[in-house]
């Protein structure tokens, strides 16, 4: 292939994904239709994820008023928010609950999009942006978890960062050093300490939000350009206008979800699920308390990691990431039936590992 044809085909690729003639309000918003069929609920998952992100931004900005990212102040300031600030515990709980909900919805969104085969041409960019958004969301969770600087936060982060370095053992030659360098960059000093906190803080409140928002812009832009994918094999008989029928339905779902989130955040402190010794301020001079675990949304890799050799997990996750990113090409020809079957398998795995992971692990160990 000559250089010229490469350039040409690249250009054509971009042109197909972002057709200039469609870049206007009329075709992007006014004309957009949302099909109505039995999988239509899948069209709401993306909006919900965005709604939770908006809640995260608002509550996160609230928290910034009082949170202080230093090893001596972080835990005190979080305590202070909980104990003294009016509505502080509510805001903090909302941030924590909504982060879990956001991740749940993002995963659900990915699964439904996969099952509905919404990733085929011309929606490849939308899909890849979506996958990246999911990774960023997980990173949000990982970096945020450290910020309260309590036992579980710091120790879980230590383990997490150390696992990155572990990857190095399986890489050849020069590459073997890369994971260590990555870990040291994020950690910033010999062990998880002030530099780590500062870096995670910067990631969590500035870098990741900016990245997420820009990727989200790309994602939404391409969604609006190409309209909703058909989603089922037989083209739906009915459809509704995106503007303004669907969007108001979206809003009314949001209102309802807000009610649930608000009630739950007011009633159940997120930390109640953990044993209290893990919530004590981090003590660098003591032993690690028992029961260090990542957040529930990491269970699907955490428990297998505990049970199987590291390289199995490493290989599996690399394959998974590769497949996710290349999905639009790998599954180009797959039927919706196959995709649906795969989705059910994947969801089954996620649900079982998340809910029964601990039991499986105990069984496995004894």
């Amino acid at each position: 292939m000559s250089l010229n044809s490469v350039i040409n085909s690249t250009f054509q690729f971009v042109k197909d994904r972002f057709p200039v003639e469609k870049l206007n309000y009329h075709s992007m918003v006014e004309k957009k239709e949302v099909p109505v069929h039995k999988m239509s609920w899948g069209y709401y998952t993306g909006g919900l994820t965005m709604f939770f992100f908006m809640i995260q931004v608002v509550t996160g900005l609230f928290l910034l008023f009082y949170y202080q990212p230093t090893v001596s102040e972080a835990n005190v300031s979080v305590e202070y928010i909980n104990k003294y600030v009016a509505g502080g515990s509510l805001i903090r709980n909302m941030h924590a609950w909504s982060s879990s909900c956001m991740i749940f919805c993002a995963v659900l969104h990915l699964l439904t999009a996969f099952a509905m085969k919404s990733f085929v041409k011309p929606r490849e960019i939308t899909w890849i942006a979506g996958v990246l958004l999911l990774f960023i969301t997980f990173t949000f969770g990982f970096t945020g978890y450290l910020l309260p600087w309590n036992q579980i936060a710091v120790n879980a982060t230590k383990v997490g960062l150390q696992s990155i370095e572990y990857i190095g053992e399986y890489l050849p030659g020069q590459l073997a050093d890369v994971p260590r360098i990555i870990r040291e960059t994020f950690q910033g000093e010999a062990s998880v300490g002030q530099s780590t906190l500062g870096r995670f803080y910067a990631l969590h409140v500035v870098i990741l939000p900016l990245t997420l928002v820009s990727l989200l812009g790309l994602h939404l832009l391409s969604v609006q350009i190409h309209g909703m994918s058909q989603g089922v094999d037989k083209p739906a008989k009915k459809s509704e206008k995106f503007m303004s029928i669907f969007i108001f339905k979206d809003l009314s779902l949001w209102a309802f979800i807000f009610l649930c989130l608000f009630t739950v955040s007011m009633c159940i402190p997120f930390e109640s699920f953990l044993p209290y010794p893990l919530l004590a301020p981090y003590n660098p001079l003591g032993s690690t308390p028992a029961g260090i675990k990542p957040e529930w949304y990491f269970f699907f890799v955490y428990y297998p990691l505990e049970m199987l050799p590291f390289w199995v997990i490493l290989l599996a996750s690399m394959i998974l990431v590769g497949v996710l990113i290349l999905t639009p090409w790998i599954f180009k020809g797959a039927s919706r039936k196959t995709l649906g079957f795969l989705t059910i398998l994947a969801s089954l795995y996620l649900v079982v590992m998340t809910i029964f992971g601990e039991q499986i692990y105990e069984l496995f160990k004894h």
Binding site: M266, C267, I268, P269, Y276, P277
Partner: protein
């Protein structure tokens, strides 16, 4: 602080007999053996990890000494809230707390937290020592009146649940849900009404728009 050293040695002997899992959490053992040392010289020192073992078994949550003690590592040692760090004043308080055999006395032991002191003043040291063989009775003896952290779950319940009796934001999630739902009902009701009203409005909006479209 010679006697705290002896205690450590005592502990270490006892330790060999206990389940390993418990070893990380020495509080009650240490507490008990310090009692034993000071009052029951006739009976050789005995460790009783029963309270912690019981709570962990009963609640399936791991706990540590900080449920009743100031220091999460228990009273032995010389950090904050441990015997080795006490001032003369505090040692006096400690001795006073150690002879609070009957319920109802005002104890302010410098190695115990609010809940620990509450236990001793509510049931008395004598009963407390008795209950070590049936730690579940301690909950009944404490009664359901006292709720030090005002989270709505009585201390005795939190003891059984293995949750922090001194943290308002820590408790059995389901229990907390119902308690807080009741406490915040005005807000919940207002929000429910608001959501109903907004959804009614949005529905009308959708209807209105579709009737324009039809035209």
């Amino acid at each position: 602080m010679s006697f705290s050293n002896t205690e450590t040695v005592e502990n270490s002997k006892d330790l060999k007999q206990i389940d390993l899992k418990l070893k990380t959490n020495l509080s009650l053992i240490a507490f008990a053996s310090s009692l034993a040392l000071s009052f029951m010289t006739a009976n050789p020192a005995q460790a009783y990890p029963e309270y912690q073992a019981f709570v962990e078994k009963n609640s399936k949550r791991s706990i540590n000494c900080a449920m009743c003690h100031i220091n999460e590592g228990g009273p032995v040692g010389n950090s904050k809230g441990q015997i080795g760090s006490l001032s003369e004043e505090e040692l006096k308080l400690l001795s006073k707390a150690r002879i609070a055999f009957e319920p109802g006395s005002d104890v302010h032991s410098p190695i115990l937290n609010e809940f620990g002191n509450k236990i001793i003043s509510a049931v008395g040291k004598k009963k407390f020592l008795e209950y070590k063989t049936s730690p579940e009775k301690l909950a009944a003896a404490l009664g359901n009146e006292s709720d030090l952290d005002t989270d709505g779950i009585p201390d005795a319940q939190e003891y059984l649940d293995g949750t922090d009796p001194l943290n308002k934001f820590h408790g059995e999630p389901v229990k907390l849900f119902w308690i807080n739902l009741n406490r915040c009902k005005t807000h919940v009701i207002l929000t429910v009404l608001a959501v109903i009203s907004i959804n009614f409005g949005l529905l009308s909006l959708v209807k209105g728009i579709s009737s324009i479209k039809k035209k």
